[in-house]
Amino acid sequence: MAIRARRLLVAAMWLAGVSALVAIVLYRLGAQQVAVVELSVGAGLVTVLFVFAISIAGEEGLSEREFIPNELAIGLLVVFGGLLAVMDLPMDELGVSLSEAEFASIFWEDRELDVLLQLVFIFTGVVTMLGVLADVRKPSRIKKRSDIPQAHINPAFGTDKHVPQPVLQPVAPSETQPESSKETPA
């Protein structure tokens, strides 16, 4: 449903529903911590973001003319899913019993690197988003490609030793910014 829904807003609502369902299942499985996070982030935050995005960008009545014939897509997926299911589904046989530590200890101690990288990741994500959104004020940048090189060559750049040449690969500052923020660990 989330895919087939014609209106974007409806699709987003369906996604929230799926998210909530997954969260419930996780809770029943015993993964309480993740379930809570999933519910708040997956079902809550992301949906709000979707609503924002859709209200900014507006609905767009795309003709749903597909590239790939519907039947072909479904057939492909059935083959794929069938193969996977046959090979991996009998889950109960795994039954490896290992002594299990507390969630907190695994999360904070064993996989401390994961947590650190997550922090870095969130940070870069935020910076990237800001960079992407900041371009709103200068929409001309993408239209006029010829502007880009000039914006990047500092006129004082070429000293007596170096004749300025056209930049080979113009890079928009929004792309380089998150990189730079990564390189300056405190």
């Binding site: 597909e66 590239f67 790939i68 897509a73 492909l76 997926l77 083959v79 794929f80 193969l83 996977l84 046959v86 090979m87 101690e109 064993d110 996989r111 401390e112 690197l113 994961d114 650190l116 060559i153 500092n154 004082a156 750049f157 070429g158 000293t159 007596d160 030793k161 170096h162 004749v163 300025p164 040449q165 056209p166 930049v167 080979l168 730079s180 390189e183 300056t184 660990p185 405190a186």
Partner: protein, 581 residues
């Protein structure tokens, strides 16, 4: 101790961050901050010297799954960290004059400082994963500093070439790291050196040769050496710091660090010796025919690194590291003074120079000091370390390699004198105003020249430090007077000296020998074209490009079809798995 390690790595990185944030017009502040932070890092590294130990001194917990990030400040690590930070500070001081008035100083200095910190981290790290991370950071800095003048296509090309080739080597290191992790459960190098038997023999040799590839790519050894001459597009202080004194030594460091574990691997030492020999000999020939001053120095770096690799191959870890120290000092000196010359003349072509000695007497003096050390003339630091390598090579290594290295030493003397002559003596062939170098340039080159004259006095202390803290290497280093006496009295020394003298005489009497020189012309042509390695490089690049172009038609750019392809590929994999299982 632990805070000293943090300071050595942290200070330059902090400086890098700060300078990056400064505005472009505050260039004075940028210069000053860079010098202050680099010097502070140098002091922190020097302060580690008295308390080297083989124990883990700093442990950063990152979770038991990956093993902790540990640092071991042993003799080898601390010594290289000192080289990195001290030569780094001198290069930064030199840059104040050299980069005066250039744009984008912030980028320049923060990359240099980032590099210094990463290099110190690389040599102190005891976790192979951490070492790999630092290894790649240094590659990144090297790339972006080679391409610092990013409006110059040649600089960009050189940078990308360096990046790609060193990345190839990085794969070798990564393979090694994963092998260790798979069998040992963590990345601790000291644990691995303690009992390399945890790895089955075939895995050990996979790792040994992986590390050899990594080292050859990083240290610009044959057949991966082609990136180093291209890297000479970088500003001269960068060439001195990264491409002569520090980063290129990382490969030698890696080999020396793992020598106790790999020693027993079949054919490994022979492979190391061959790589070292080929690099030392071929690069010396190329240096003989190079016309670009910095390129000639780059080839000579390859050649000298070849000596160190050869020494590791013969088991002479101490000699190799001692030569590394000498080389770092005198080659940084040569690059910096060459930089001063180039800065003043405005060209790198030696055919455009000549007779510069009159206008630049100070630079001539320090350059000659460096050149004599490079040629291995007595009582400069290069003499002691090179003789030590050759002597150990004679006793421990195969004779064919020794003969090759000896010939290399002769060619080294020959090209060194050719270089000095072309630049500072004879008639001036170019035009334009020449000015003597700036005061800070003189300061840093002067200090390095003093180092060139004196670092060999440290031989005893240095040997003791390595012997005490490299417990897995079972080094036995004589005391300083014994060592020095041995070097002077050994017949090998006389032999080597006479070869060096032959090289010198060869240059002196080049006019009468012109006939013989002419017969060497094909060799010269082969050397200028890099003995075909450059050609191989180009072919590989062309093939890759052609292949990529051919594959391009499959990229429709449509998301739907891309996903279709992904699923199709997955199905194929699954079918294969299902059939296989």
């Amino acid at each position: 101790m632990d805070w000293l390690i943090i300071l050595t790595i942290g200070i330059p990185w902090l400086g890098a961050g700060l300078i990056w944030l400064l505005e472009e017009r505050q260039s004075r502040l940028q210069h000053t901050l860079a010098v202050v932070f680099a010097l502070a890092a140098g002091v922190a590294a020097l302060a580690m010297l008295p308390s080297t130990t083989e124990q883990v001194e700093l442990r950063i917990k990152i979770g038991s799954v990956f093993g902790d990030f540990t640092f071991v400040p042993d003799g080898l690590g601390v010594f290289l960290a000192v080289v990195a930070t001290v030569v780094g500070s001198l290069a930064v001081i030199f840059s104040v004059d050299y980069m005066h008035g250039e744009a984008q100083l912030g980028r320049y200095y923060s990359l240099v400082l980032l590099f210094i910190g990463a290099m110190a981290g690389l040599v102190l790290a005891d976790s192979l994963l951490l070492l790999f991370i630092f290894w790649e950071i240094t590659a990144l800095c090297s790339y972006s500093l080679i391409s610092f003048y990013n409006d110059d296509p040649k600089a960009v090309e050189g940078g990308i070439k360096a990046l790609i080739i060193t990345q190839l080597g990085g794969i070798g290191l990564l393979v090694g790291a994963l092998v260790i992790y798979a069998y040992q459960g963590d990345y601790q190098i000291s644990r691995f050196l303690n009992e390399p038997e945890v790895l089955p023999t075939n895995m050990l040799s996979v790792m040994a040769f992986g590390c050899l590839i990594a080292a050859a790519a990083k240290s610009a050894q044959v057949p991966f050496h082609t990136w180093l001459p291209g890297a000479m597009e970088a500003p001269s202080p960068i060439s001195a710091l990264i491409h002569a004194a520090t980063m290129v030594n990382a490969g030698v460091y890696l080999l020396a660090r793992f020598y106790p574990a790999f020693e027993e691997v079949d054919g490994w030492t022979t492979a190391v010796i061959s790589v070292g020999l080929l690099s030392a000999f071929l690069a010396a020939l190329m240096a003989l025919f190079a016309t670009d001053l910095k390129r000639a120095l780059a080839y000579s770096t390859i050649s000298q690194l070849g000596y160190m690799v050869y020494a590791v191959g013969t088991g002479a870890i101490f000699a190799s590291q001692f030569h590394l120290l000498s080389h770092a000092v005198f080659k940084a000196l040569l690059f910096l003074s060459a930089g001063a010359v180039i800065h003043s003349v405005g060209t790198r072509d030696m055919r455009q120079m000549g007779g510069l000695g009159k206008q630049m007497p100070f630079m001539r003096a320090v350059f000659i000091v460096g050149a004599l050390a490079l040629a291995g003339l007595p009582f400069f630091n290069g003499f002691w370390s090179k003789e030590l390598i050759l002597e150990d090579g004679l006793h421990e290594g195969p004779v064919w390699a020794y003969v090759g290295m000896l010939a290399g030493a002769g060619i080294t003397a020959l090209y060194t004198f050719r270089m000095v002559w072309l630049v500072f003596y004879g008639e001036r062939r170019g035009s334009g105003h020449i000015h003597e170098a700036g005061r800070l340039m003189k300061l840093s080159t002067g200090l390095l020249a003093a180092g060139t004259l004196t670092t060999w006095l440290l031989i005893g202390v240095f040997g003791e430090m390595l012997e005490n803290t490299l417990i897995y290497h079972h080094l036995h280093v004589e005391s300083a007077p014994t060592l020095l006496e041995e070097i002077i009295t050994a017949p090998a020394t006389l032999l080597a000296l006479s070869v060096v003298a032959a090289g010198l005489l060869g240059w002196w009497f080049r006019a009468p020998l012109a006939g013989i020189a002419a017969s060497f012309k094909p060799v010269g042509q082969a050397a200028t074209s890099d003995f075909g390695f450059e050609w191989i490089n180009r072919r590989v690049t062309d093939w890759t490009n052609a292949g990529a172009n051919a594959l391009r038609t499959t990229q429709t750019g449509s998301l739907n079809w891309n996903v279709f392809g992904i699923i199709g590929g997955l199905i194929v994999v699954l079918v294969i798995l299902a059939l296989g299982a």
